[in-house]
Symmetry: C2
Subunit: 229 residues, 2 copies
DNA sequence: CCAAAAGTGTTAAAACTACACCCATGA
DNA sequence: TCATGGGTGTAGTTTTAACACTTTTGG
């Protein structure tokens, strides 16, 4: 095997913006750094890419190591490569974003990071490196993507009510939606299928549960169908 | 300055998919490799990222060195990092795509690549590495993006006719559009402004020239406006 | 019986689609 | 005068937006 070149190389990392949703707003997972630079500051989970793993593998590995999260929706976001973004040396980072259902994952269980926590996007601490910029890029991407790709479901449990789904869209888009129009629109795609089940333990009339039909969506996508809300 | 880590690092490159449009179809710029691996094969222009330049700078530098193209629309596409995508060693590449107006650039003038040429997307040679996959990703992105971002103009001269613009959209979307409806739609955005000029040297009635209003678009974008065709 | 959210239709306005002819120009 | 593309309007259909009340359930 011949060497490709002998010049100094940038270091290569991955960073992951993990989004979740609570009753109020969008949350993002941060971990507190215990090393310089930016010791004590909050930062996105992430770390160095090994030579024997793909970028996505590196992202999933780091995420599980640092937060315990695994088997989640993960998508490449953007690669940040400004020369001075890391004060130590040249570091290029491939950023991913992830969507999880808050209730479905216990982040503290398998975490080996001393300090991993959810923060509301509306109440963020100062972040290390250019992570504020990465986060802003991820937020913009999420807002844009949610309108024409069915990713809203990733933030909910597998079975959900239409109320919950509308709530996801309202928070991400940042504006209220009309209940009747939303239901009509969503159901008209045929991709959200009603189940013979209703929600449990609520102090009012229980709503019907629905489920996203992944298989049907995959089939339609191949035929050039475009999901849109 | 402390070292970040001492483990082996992937090499980092940039590759650029340059699109242009002729009368018939979409073209892409390729260069013929004169070194192993894939000696003699056609490949995307690109090369190694230096530690003192940003990713976009690296892309622009390589593009100018290899093809003579400069001052063009360039946007990051995706980062490809499969472990075995380069047979020599681990190489991660940040792919960009570029849009140029064929008539406006002479690719041979300042080229120091022995062999840089345009190929129709419908008649491609076998490509080196995973460049076929990068190209396919770029093509998909272009098709998707053209519908909701005003990038069609980048493939045309600054002053263009509505016929030319419609042609851009027809080729990228791969289907014919209705002339009257297209004109109504495009002009209704107010972003395409008529000039007091007509095209020259045509063997029939000359069409009016138009120009994209970048400034107005920037203003509207900030207010949440979404361009759509 | 009260509080809370579930569920459901209609109408007016706007956007989209399909479609054909006359005009201006240069060869 | 002919060939070529430039330029223009309308009608039917579909999609979107606005809007309020009754039902179910648990407390």
């Amino acid at each position: 095997m011949s060497k490709t070149y002998e010049y100094p190389r940038p270091a290569l990392t991955v960073d992951i913006v993990v989004f979740a949703l609570d009753e109020e707003d969008l949350q993002v997972m941060l971990i507190q750094r215990d090393l310089a630079p930016f010791e004590g500051r909050w930062a996105l989970p992430g770390g160095f890419v090994r030579v024997d793993e793909s970028l996505e593998e590196a992202g999933r590995r780091e995420l599980e190591e640092e937060t315990g999260l695994k088997d989640i929706y993960l998508e490449q976001l953007y690669t940040f490569g400004e020369v001075t973004r890391d004060p130590r040396e040249r570091v290029v980072t491939v950023a991913y974003y992830a969507l999880v259902n808050l209730a479905g994952h216990d982040i503290h269980a398998s975490s080996d990071a001393r300090n991993a926590a959810w923060f509301s996007l509306n109440d963020l601490p100062e972040l290390a490196f250019d992570h504020d910029q990465i986060l802003a890029t991820a937020h913009t991407r999420l807002r844009g993507k949610v309108r024409y790709q069915p990713i809203g479901f990733e933030l909910l449990p597998r079975k959900f009510t239409l109320r919950q789904l509308q709530h996801v869209y309202e928070i991400i888009l940042g504006r209220p939606l009309d209940k009747r129009n939303f239901r009509k629109k969503v159901l008209s795609t045929g991709l959200i299928v009603p189940l013979e089940e209703i929600e449990q333990d609520v102090a009012h009339r229980a709503a019907r549960l629905y489920q996203f039909d992944n298989r049907k969506y995959a089939r339609l996508s191949k035929q050039g169908f475009h999901f849109e809300i």
